[in-house]
Amino acid sequence: MIATGNFRWLILIVLGAVSAGRLFLEHRLTSELREEQLLPVKLETKLRDEMSQEAFAAALGGMRSLLAVYYELEAFSAFTKQPPEWHTVDKYYSLGTKLQPLDPYYWEMHSWMMGTNAAESYAVDGEAPKGLEREMRRQYRERGLEILNRGLQFLPNNYKLHRRIADMYAFANKEVNPTPDHAKAAESYLKASQCEGALPFLYRFHVYQVAMVPGREVEAYQKLRDLYWKGGNNRAATLINLVKKFEQRFNVPLMLRIPEDGKEPPTRWSAINPFRFPKPRPDDNTPK
């Protein structure tokens, strides 16, 4: 018989005890899910000042993904205006990244909008004074990098964010990035290639960048050759051209060079890296 006399109180006490005991179960599960980065990051308190009361309540109520979608649409709307309202784009994507910091998508999009689109819009606009334009481009590019570096604090092993940083350092643009930093690009491509789920061509991109860093030619040649002999998609035209360029530069003996297009290697010796066998002397590092 349920709920009569003292039995009812017993039920109440048992339920109270179960309710208190479940706190440890909740705590353990929360810790486990946090470790796996499956739970959303705690909302920053200052976020309350940046969004409406209703939106903040909705975010607290577990509707963060929907709110982030809404803010992205707002950002997109500001982006498509003529001229684009970059400060509004920045504001809404900032909210998106704050709501969903464990989603690399928002960091990538935010950085791309500011570091590439906003920066380049000042390159093609041509209405503002040249000095101001240059400064705006520099600032937006810096903003793009800053966003990605902040994203890496939340997602240190995300290949997309490392790759975006590498892209920003690597690609030369007369107006926005006149002096690409190939060493930094190489480093970021390498980090990207070592992350889980990284796309296979990222290591190749790292090697391409190394090839453009003065003083690292031998390292680049060795890596390029290794990639060539791994075969598959690595035997891309850019890679083959770079290998051939270095072969000429280092006067590599013909039998140790990679074969001409479509031809079989003259001997199996050609698969041996000339800088590993025989071991290069220190002065071999100097390009000829």
Binding site: M1, I11, E26, E36, L60, S65, A68, F76, D103, A236
Partner: protein, 325 residues
């Protein structure tokens, strides 16, 4: 009004017949809700899918897929919780108003069996709705993925045949774009997100049932249940202030944390014990972005849900057993 006795001497008390009665009541509740045309809200869901998937402007195909997926799963979360709360808030007062409750309880049916039957009926409708919404969302996502994939391949093929890009650029571009598209497409792990949504809605529904056992009106039940739903998302903070020493925030971002005072601790204790932690079900966003929830964690989540249901349904039965009808 006469008080309905809590038990009847003629009642068949065996567990099997108890389950049978609960099953009959659940089936009746399911039919009752279906007759209330509640499945019409699926049309709204279709509309949401259509608008987010095909009408909203976006920059890239993977962005379109993400928009569709995030919206679909977000709306599934809202719909399931609201539906559970609304249904529970409506059913009990309706049975009292129609006097169906008295007819049922005058038969050899115990009060807790009646409550559990109603609850299971609502859960059944929730389950069917979620399965249908999931199927619709996955169908729309798959169709959109296929369309985006063929468009993307067409674009790269065209560029390659026109000599605008090299073979290497073609391979890199296709592999990159395909990876991005696949990340936003349909994956089996997404079904674990639907399980988490269902478990969360089951707890919200149990809470609404508890509130409706002592509430004076439907509006009161809905408002209180929604408030509890929101508070439940903050419960983790209160609990952590009790069980965990204050530490700087994770991800290397330092945050100044003051140790809580006695009053704060008492307040946090009351909140932690009274309200469920809805935050643990918020794995949905991570799963949707491509992460996988370990099987053990999912089992523990189901176990925690079972504990919540025992507590809240037990309390509901306790309150309802002594309620003057």
């Amino acid at each position: 009004m006469n008080a309905v006795p809590t038990t009847r001497p003629s009642a068949n008390l065996s567990l099997l017949s108890s389950f049978r009665r609960i099953g009959v009541l659940a089936g009746h509740t399911f039919t009752q809700l279906v007759r209330m045309k509640i499945f019409y809200f699926m049309l709204v869901f279709c509309l949401v899918l259509f608008v987010s998937g095909f009408l909203l402007a976006s920059i890239s195909p993977d962005q379109e897929l993400k928009l569709l997926k995030d919206t679909a799963f977000g709306v599934m979360q809202i719909f399931s919780a609201i539906f559970g709360i609304m249904a529970m808030a409506l059913l009990l007062p309706k049975d009292i108003e129609d006097r169906t409750l008295y007819t049922i309880l005058s038969k050899p049916v115990r009060r807790w069996e009646y409550l559990l039957g109603k609850y299971c009926g609502v859960l059944l409708v929730l389950l069917v709705s979620l399965v249908v919404m999931d199927a619709m969302a996955c169908g729309a996502l798959h169709a959109k993925f296929k369309f985006a994939e063929s468009q993307m391949m067409g674009f790269y093929d065209e560029q390659k045949s026109a000599g605008k890009i090299t073979e290497e650029d073609y391979q890199v571009g296709v592999s990159d774009a395909l990876t991005r598209l696949r990340e936003q497409g349909v994956r089996w792990q997404m079904q674990t997100a639907v399980v988490a949504i269902f478990l969360k809605a089951a707890v919200a529904t149990a809470l609404a049932l508890l509130v409706s056992t002592f509430a004076g009106s439907t509006i009161f039940t809905i408002l209180v249940a929604i408030s509890i739903y929101v508070i439940g998302h903050l419960q983790a903070g209160a609990r952590e202030s009790l069980l965990q020493p204050p530490v700087p925030h994770s991800h290397g971002i330092p945050v100044q944390v003051e140790p809580p005072g006695v009053i704060t601790k008492v307040f946090a204790g009351v909140i932690s014990v009274t309200f469920p932690d809805f935050q643990v079900y918020n794995v949905v966003d991570s799963i949707v972005t491509g992460k996988t929830i370990p099987g053990g964690a999912l089992m523990r989540m189901a176990g925690l849900t079972a504990v919540y249901l025992i507590i809240y349904l037990g309390l509901a039965a306790f309150v309802f057993s002594s309620k003057e009808l």
